[in-house]
């Protein structure tokens, strides 16, 4: 079979048809060494490379010819690849990244945010404290990723930080405990996650983000706190829009959802624990087939009319997506449930949208996506996701997380923030430039 493949390549070369069909375009091999992080680790691909080098591409290109002759299993030098999911930045790339970072810093500073740095390594306990993802019903975690762990010579268990929100919550609860609220902090930092490397996911990647923690002292007395929180969420959304605009991205939208809605509907539906788990998972994956199947499987026995209505609304959630306003039919259906928690979430979204509009954010930059379900244990209110049609992945993610800071101090503090992946942002900017 391998042999046949090779002959096929030769035939193509002879007839001269479709020189770049079905594989790597030849020009990439020499010019962009970092596009294929693992040809050494993938013998099939390496063979193909070698064969092509000998047949159709090799003429007059010195490095390709040499690579074709090398037996990849007898690489004569020290190992040359970087760990999976980690990349080098060459001078031009660094230059470009620094310019982008400078533009982002300017936006953060203008909004009154101050930069902080924290160590690359944190005690495993600290990262674990920030991991609110344990499922209350089963103890299993949802939406989790692995982290890089190591022991120092004193047997302390350390973790390479998988995000910046937890270290900053630690700061807020300890060394910045007496600083005036709200704390407005930003960072540009590398984070590390042991994830499957695919579709643009890296294991070390750089994030730019903000955290807005706490409210002014008088805000904690009564009703004023609510509106201040909405204003804080709106500030974060407006900042996200300004940030992506400043980065030069032309086509993007920040979608807003509310996990309170999901919680309220889950609670009101009278589901069994195993159905609850299946639903949470299906909502995170936007798996509408699974949602319908759980609904059918759960049946209608011993389910009150009110519970059934809440169930229907829950599985409908992923459909409600619109620009800059809550879809009217969704609002009608959800209000009809007469659930205080649902009404509260809808009210918060309305106030948030009003605040965003008042902050002069262009309306086409903001969308409502009631099916936007990010981690349900971690987020406590509005959640956001920024995306661009130029990139098939989310660019920016964030939301309100009111239970994190209290993991580090007896004093709970409301908090909200977001992070942008710089590698993805650059990719979106590249696509934008190429599509012109």
């Amino acid at each position: 079979m391998e042999q046949g493949h090779g002959q096929d390549q030769d035939k193509q070369a002879r007839t001269g048809s479709e020189p770049s069909a079905g594989g790597w375009p030849g020009r990439r091999i020499g010019s962009e060494p970092d596009t294929g992080p693992g040809y050494e680790s993938d013998p099939g691909r390496g063979d193909e490379l070698g064969r092509r080098a000998g047949s159709e591409l090799g003429k007059g290109v010195a490095d390709i010819e040499r690579m074709g002759e090398v037996d990849i299993y007898e690489w004569p030098y020290t190992r040359v690849q970087t760990p999976r999911g980690m990349r080098d930045l060459l001078p031009d790339q660094v230059k470009r990244r620094r310019a982008l970072e400078a533009a982002l810093r300017e936006v953060f500073a203008e909004a009154g945010y101050q930069e902080v740095e924290t160590p690359l390594l944190e005690y495993a306990d600290v990262v674990a404290a920030g991991n609110l993802r344990a499922d209350e019903a089963s103890g299993a975690t949802t939406g989790s990723f692995d982290v890089y762990r190591l022991f120092d010579p004193e047997r302390e268990s350390l973790v390479l930080r998988p995000d910046m929100t937890t270290p900053i919550a630690r700061l807020a609860a300890t060394r910045l405990a007496r600083w005036p609220r709200p704390l407005r902090l930003y960072y540009l930092a590398d984070v590390f996650r042991f994830e499957e490397v695919h579709a643009g996911r890296l294991r070390q990647f750089r994030q730019a983000g903000v955290e807005r923690i706490g409210e002014e002292a008088d805000a904690r007395t009564g009703g004023a706190a609510e509106s201040r929180r909405d204003a804080a969420d709106a500030e974060i959304v407006a900042l996200a829009v300004r940030l992506l605009t400043a980065a030069g991205l032309q086509r993007f939208r920040i979608d807003i959802g509310h996990v309170g809605l999901v919680h309220a509907l889950l609670d009101a539906g009278g589901w069994q624990p195993r159905h609850r788990r299946a639903l949470r998972q299906a909502l995170m994956e936007r798996n509408q087939v699974a949602l319908q199947a759980v609904l059918a499987e759960a049946g209608t026995e011993n389910v009150s009319a009110a519970q059934q209505a809440a169930r229907w609304q829950l599985v409908e959630l992923p459909q409600w997506c619109a620009s800059a306003e809550i879809p009217a039919p969704a609002e009608r259906a959800l209000s009809a449930l007469r659930l205080p928690a649902v009404d509260r979430a809808l009210q918060e979204l309305h106030t948030l949208l009003q605040c965003v509009a008042a902050a002069k954010v262009p309306l086409e930059r903001v969308g409502i996506d009631l099916g936007l379900v990010r981690d349900l244990n971690y987020y406590t209110g509005p959640v956001l996701e920024g995306f661009s049609p130029d990139l098939a992945l989310p660019l920016l993610t964030g939301g309100r997380y009111d239970h994190l800071v209290e993991q580090f101090a007896p004093r709970p503090e409301p908090a909200t923030g977001f992070a942008v992946g710089l590698d993805r942002l650059e990719l979106a900017l590249d696509r934008q430039a190429n599509s012109r």
Partner: protein, 273 residues
Amino acid sequence: MPALSIALPKGRVLESAVELLERAGVGPLDGLLHSRRLIWDLPAGAGGTPGYVFRFVLAKPWDVPTYVEYGAAVLGLAGKDVLVEREKPVAELMDLGVGRCRMVLAVPAGSPVRSLEDIHFPWRVATKYPHVATRFCQRWGVQAEIINLQGSIEVAPLVGLADAIVDITETGTTLRENGLRVIAEVLPVSTRLIANPVLHKVHREAVEQLSAQLRQVVQVVDPNAGHAAGGITTWSRGEADAGHSVGGTGGAAGTGDSSPGAAGHLAGVGRER
């Protein structure tokens, strides 16, 4: 004019998928079945949303989720078997009801094995779905070695390569002809409409329009009917176990709890900050 790209699986399911699309008013697509071209553009006005060109990309069934994950196609038609094996972060929009079959665990007819409990180490299970088979075995405490093959799975027990297989079967004919007997159902399978979660939002109108058209013609099937055993048919990542049921024991077996470690790779999809 914007294009809505849809990855279609070549092979077994293509014909019924195309027929379904045509019934939904997208087409004509018969040329697509009889040509060797891999990209087909359907001009605006031929079904779907006005102002959108439909671009069909013919891919290997196993690759459809990959096309969609990377955004090379906005939508795709993929079998549930492939979706659970590949665990790609794509959104499942609809069960299209075509390509129905079952993933089963089967043993040679003459084998003394009657149920999963009779399987012991050093048993070997040959399959095209190592990931699913591993999780199935873990779920039911089956101690077996999984052998990953690319095809002709039925042969493995005949030549002594394996003691059992996990594979999909439509009617059971191939299994019977190869002297195999089903002892457990792993997963009911059908073709799903999947979407890239981000591009779904970008092309929302067109996707919704197409979904609505498809919904008109898709047969509504009770997810629990038509299979040997009941249980939730949502074998979504992370809740993998919910859908398992052992053939012959009825629906009750499918109510298992989530096993630790089944959290899957949804890594970072939930929380990426």
